[in-house]
Amino acid sequence: MNKRRNWAPFLLILPSVVYLAVFFAWPMFRAMTLAVWDDAANLQLHQEASSTSPAAGSLPQGAPVAILDRQGNVLAPEAVNDANLQTEIWFQIRSTGPDGQPVAGWAPEARVRVRESDAEGRPLAGTIRRKLAGDADPLTDVFASPSQVAQITGKLEASAAVEILGQETLELWYLVHGGEDGQPQEGWAPARYIQVYESGEVGRVARGDTGAFTTHYIQAMFNDRFFWPALLTTLLLMVLIIPLQFVLSIIMALIIQAQLKGNSFFLYVFTIALGVSDLAVGIVWYAIFTQYGYLNSILQSLGLISEPVAYLTADTRYWIIIAICLAELWRATAIVMVVVVSGLQAISSEILEAADLFGAGLWRRVRYVILPMLRPSLQVALILRTILALQVFAVVIALSGGDIVTVLANEAYRQYYDLRNINVAAAYAGLILLLSMISAVFYLRTVRSNEEASE
């Protein structure tokens, strides 16, 4: 050990600290915020059509509004390509009016059909579009500046040829009026936050621009019809699998510790499952439990059943649970076993020999010597296993299709992938994190109180 105080170790651990901060701590924080923070809860209104103008109240997402006025602000060239903005393009045009007088000014892109552009796609010339039949004014207004509220400099007939001198991109703003009866709110908001209905005079706040704390997503999670089945199944699987797994893994570890001839073969076989993908394990046990699978094949060859039994159906959920348990036992017992074996290796053989010498049988040795000395390892294995049990996912999908029997991780996946409810999915992720943390703290607490009791 190098006890010299220097900066080398900090430099050496720095990359890992940075990496885990970026890809672990921060996403964890994001998971929490996604679950309880509504990014678009409220829409800030402004006194004028500018984001720098003073606030004039706010409206919640979804609030119905009346649209009183609209305005376009010329965008700075660097903001033109911002895809988030709702924009309108205006052309600076020059043409001849219906009376033969020259007309020059600005018209929105919607009124001009571009007929000619240069090599770079800049429009050079076009014609005025025909207005819809029934419009009161068949002529198209030309404005002094790129704005609907600017002074009108002239009018053009449909199909009039225009020369296009330049263009500007405008960001649209609406003057909206809405809110509860008691507290009417009125102010300007960028058009991208407002969904306008067909008439063009009313609409709703499509989304807000300021966030707020919300329990909406967590409520949505609790109210989801799959939530309680998923939570209960997850807990049931933990309760069923973990004790069995510990018994099996301790037996396997004792077998490995016995140093039989061919020990290295046994060790390899016992640990194979540790590296097998959980999806593959799920399919393997599906091959056994499916109606025309191996279990029925064996039972039928033995004459125990006369026709194949269907196990993995909605009417026989307990069989699905059994199959999931077996698959998980098959897959993850090896992890616990390895932890237990390394714990066993730390127990000095003198102690075991002494116990043997005093006539302690295998059971008493396990009960009074090995298990107490293994406690730290078992503890760690228990935490590890519990947290892994909360992540059971692919095995369940492979064995039940993810519908008949479902677990928390599967619901997170479904919310994210099938329903596109990222916030509710994050709520599930947060719940899994929370349960993991609770179980880890719980186990560590129990140990500490045990230690204190024994002191």
Binding site: S16, F23, M28, L260, I272, W330, I335, S349, Q391
Partner: protein, 297 residues
């Protein structure tokens, strides 16, 4: 059990007839126990191997035998590559396999590069915050890192790196990094620092000492850790399904096709996904205790 040395450890001066009887009984019991242990060991081997045998039988026979009932096992049903070929020629499998390998290799390189210095630091230096660092690594190791795929997906979409093998590899690196750090740390810890010091006494620079003395000794352990990283990334399916759409990895591809696919596809896919585990666990089995045993210390 571990009582083989008992007879020799016993001083013979106090050997009485009573003691002799006790000893013989112990020996008999020991032999009986040994037989029992063998039987148990074989039962457990069957428990692990029989399901693998089943799925291998399904993967290496003709589709007719996959559909047949009752199902047979190799070598009692004809051996054929037809099912496997059918699986490999299915849509998205070859690209998925290539993606899986790329993701796993990037993960392997990234996590080894980041973990090796950190592992060296925690095994060779005592520095302020070392215990906190070790403890946080242990905590991260035990955390369900995979569920972080959901918030990460949102971040990746915002940064425009969603649905790429590289961003998935970043996630997988976060997943494997704690394990890799701990394993590499324990590998370094198993090489006495005195060796490095001795090399320096004999005129090596610290870097030379590290390269010529320590590196050859730790290389197999680090290789084992890297291989395990590869296997973890190859197997991971939750984050892969969430973070990719077009560039699916193999498990994500199989998972998304699971409900509409034939049994031949599923069974051959399951065996195909197992292959790295079967090979690599054999290669690194000696180091597994470093890997998982570490966490309890």
């Amino acid at each position: 059990m571990t009582t083989a040395s008992m007879t020799s450890a016993q001083p013979s001066s106090q050997a009485s007839a009573e003691m002799q009887r006790v000893r013989q009984r112990a020996l008999r019991r020991q032999r009986f126990n040994r037989g029992l242990v063998y039987a148990l060991a074989i039962v457990f081997c069957l428990w692990v191997l029989v399901p693998i045998w089943f799925i291998a039988s399904m993967a290496f026979t003709t589709p007719e035998y996959v559909r047949a009932y009752p199902k047979g096992v190799l070598p009692f049903i004809p051996f054929s590559l037809e099912t496997m070929r059918f699986f490999l020629s299915s849509q998205g499998i070859i690209p998925g396999t290539i993606n899986s390998i790329i993701v796993a290799l990037i993960t392997l390189v990234l996590s080894t590069l980041i973990a090796a210095p950190a592992g060296y630091a925690i095994s060779r230096y005592i520095f302020r915050g070392r215990d906190v660092y070790r403890l946080s690594i242990l905590a991260v190791r035990a955390f369900p890192v995979v569920v972080l795929a959901i918030p990460l997906a949102v971040v990746f979409i915002n940064f425009g790196i969603y649905d790429s093998v590289f961003s998935l590899a970043l996630m997988h690196t976060a997943l494997t990094l704690p394990t890799t750090i701990l394993v590499i740390g324990s590998v370094f810890a198993s090489i006495p620092y005195e060796l490095e010091e001795a090399a320096q006494v004999f005129g090596c620079s610290p870097l030379q000492a590290f390269r010529t003395v320590v590196l050859p000794l730790v290389a197999p352990g680090i290789a084992a850790a890297s291989i395990f990283t590869f296997v973890m990334s190859w197997n991971e399916v939750f984050a892969a399904s969430i973070l990719t759409l077009q560039n699916r990895t193999l498990p994500a591809q199989v998972l998304s096709a699971l409900s509409q696919s034939s049994e031949a596809y599923q069974f051959a896919g399951a065996f195909f996904m197992m292959i790295p585990a079967l090979i690599f666990i054999f290669v690194i089995r000696r180091y597994l205790f470093n890997m998982w045993g570490q966490i309890s210390k």
